[in-house]
Amino acid sequence: MSGLREIRAKISTVQNLQKLTHAMEMVAQSKIRKVRDRMNAARPYGEMIRNVCAHMSHAHPEYKSPYLHQHETSNRAGLILITSDKGMCGALNSNLLKLAYQQMKHWQEQGQEIEICTIGAKGMSFLRRANANIVSHAVGIGDTPRMQQLALPVGRILDAYKSGELDSVHICYTKFVNTIVHQPVMEQLLPLKGEMLGSPFGYWDYIYEPDPKVIVDETLRRYIEALIFLAVAENMASEQGARMVAMKAASDNATHVIEELKMIYHKTRQAAITEEITEIISGAAAV
């Protein structure tokens, strides 16, 4: 019977799909541990450089780094948008893009122009469709964040800020709360805030080598790059977490669908057998 064969084909298709989603779930599960370790490995650097920047902000009040003080001249904003390269991770990217889009709309209403640096393929294709001004991008960064992959695209935005073309730079990424909870966030990156913690103990200054301006700017630049690096690492952990959850849900759904299809299959089969028997009996009765 054709009806039966069709249902059987459907069942095997869903079973194949389930195998796929299950495999992806397992892959994400093993990856998330590595990605999370990498995220934690980068933390000490982030803390240390933050301390150094805090010390520095007390030491030399004469030189004002452009990274710390707003110039507000150009009415342009910069945005660094971090998304995943691949899909199959639930609403991770769409939630983030929704947030970014709202903020961009808000800026546009204020008459600000926006320059965007996208990290990850998903954000780029979305913004291309939205006709946004993408000045630089990094795609295909894999599962290990590397500074040299990020330095170039991110550098364009930071340079534009330093030379006064941008008033502020924001960063948009998905924060890793735990394996199941991920939060899209939008943070202000530049000018830096909150690096003036604590009160200076008397007047003192560093011995600078080679000279204060260079070293202050360079250290702050490294700090900003470290923040971006950490954001990318967090986004990767979130991506794997979201994928794990999404693929688990997909596998569970597949199980339900298979159960339902099997039920229909058995009912149809039973009906066919009953029909045949009735036909035979009625045929025998007629004889």
Partner: protein, 143 residues
């Protein structure tokens, strides 16, 4: 007991060293600097090379290779922010030479500018480590 200072050597890929040391030698940009506990505050740019740490109650030194980075000295704390770092025990000179050769080879047949830049970064990384090792070898021969 000799005076000690808290030293932290970190790179973006992880913490390389954290602990007390009696004396530190670091490759600052304008020359090597030696730091004893209680040094005046200093902040300096580093060039590729080896950091040597004299640890309390231990013979010999701990050696860490760094590429460029930032060195911050406070009287009771030394922080070394390395762009890339490598512990001596993880280093493998043969492997690094191989890396250098491979990179130089690809450099000759480079395709695009971006590719070129990426390779250049790799080359610098291999070179800085190699340089660090050679500095160390030279020094060891003298002793």
């Amino acid at each position: 007991m000799a005076m000690t200072v808290q030293v932290d050597v970190v790179s973006i890929e992880g913490s390389l060293f954290s602990g007390l040391a009696e004396f530190i030698v670091a490759p600052a940009e304008l020359g090597e600097v030696g730091i004893y506990p209680g040094h005046a505050p200093m902040i300096a740019r580093m060039k590729p090379g080896a950091i040597r740490l004299k640890l309390p109650n231990q013979p010999g030194e701990e050696v860490i290779f760094v590429s460029s980075g930032i060195l911050e000295v406070q009287p009771r704390r030394v922080t070394i922010l390395s762009d890339l770092g490598l512990l001596e025990r993880d280093a493998d000179e043969h492997h690094l030479r191989e890396e250098k050769r491979k990179v130089e080879e690809t450099l000759r047949y480079r395709v695009t500018d971006i590719e070129f830049m990426r390779i250049q970064v790799e080359l610098t990384r291999a070179l800085s480590r190699l340089e660090g090792m050679q500095v160390l070898r030279h020094r060891n021969r003298k002793i």
